[in-house]
Symmetry: C2
Subunit: 199 residues, 2 copies
Amino acid sequence: MDSSTEEKIYEAARRIFILKGMEGARMQEIADEAGMNKALLHYYFRSKENLFKAVFKDIFTKFFLKVKDTLFSDVSAKEKLIVFIDNYVDLIQSNPYVPQFIINEINRDPKVLKTLMFESGIEPQKLLEIFLNKVQLNNQSKLDPRHIVISLLGMLVFPFVARPLLQMVYFNDDKVAYDRFLNERKDIVKNMIFKFIEA
Amino acid sequence: MDSSTEEKIYEAARRIFILKGMEGARMQEIADEAGMNKALLHYYFRSKENLFKAVFKDIFTKFFLKVKDTLFSDVSAKEKLIVFIDNYVDLIQSNPYVPQFIINEINRDPKVLKTLMFESGIEPQKLLEIFLNKVQLNNQSKLDPRHIVISLLGMLVFPFVARPLLQMVYFNDDKVAYDRFLNERKDIVKNMIFKFIEA
DNA sequence: GTCTATATGGCGATAGAC
DNA sequence: GTCTATCGCCATATAGAC
């Protein structure tokens, strides 16, 4: 790694903040992770709050933007949904602590959300549109498509954020078995959603 | 309130810890909430860690035990599920910050879970049993009922823990509209689950 | 730019009067 | 049991040498 000092700090902060959150993280810990002195963090980013905001904005936007394009391809709604679910689960699997991190911080300080959403380029409506047409097509005009979106996201995210509890009570704390279970889930969730909207 | 000093501390700590978590809460804040001096907290509970553990154990067990009996009534699986969903959503609605709190703390320190589960009297298997019979009945023997349980819990819990984000992006930050939406959800979720397991 | 040393403030915890 | 005052530590932040 011959990246600049600022980049090293940024990457180290990213890792530590995701694992410990804003309150749990220590500037000393981030400095250690970056392999440098604590004072440098303040030289480049003036305060912990500053450093955190920069990192959080980055994590937040990147996390959603990575699956954004799956919603813009020129295929059927069903195809789009399949690709979205596959990619979204892959995304969480390679960033397993990020959903929990985001949920935590938006609850701790909901104000940042407002400013963040406008600058982010995220388009949550695109996910809604998949079901909007689909639902109307099947004469379920009374069904609010937001219920489907939120059900979908809940089914996908929950097994990751509640992992310690679920793995313990339903898998005898068998980590390998739980990972296998998570892999099966893509198809299970697709099935549940399809059965529901195609009825 | 003429409850004992210890009870006042306990109740105050309960409220503050749920809102701020172990790391976010301050002993001074809890003392203020209880209307007394900080030193008294240490007189009764010796340390913050002690106080937190007592409170967490209480919140954790009570939260799950409140819906436990819904799984023991002598009715059909379908009836049982309906009652469970109704009561579980009611429970979260009157304790909206508890799921987030529990998820947070079990991720921060998963060790406490093991000791807690044995003493708690919680029986997570009972929820599983509902779907175990149901699924076998419909020749879906290949379907792991844990997928249904976790999907169900995810659908119910997610709209509460991710509320700030969801309310903002899908409800223009309209609190009243979001509450209305949450009330509709009981029946929506029942429907989704039934459609899936009765196929 | 990068380091060491130190200031500054806050928090958990305790001592001791009443 | 309950209070005030204070200790001791740790975390953020800064000063200043190099």
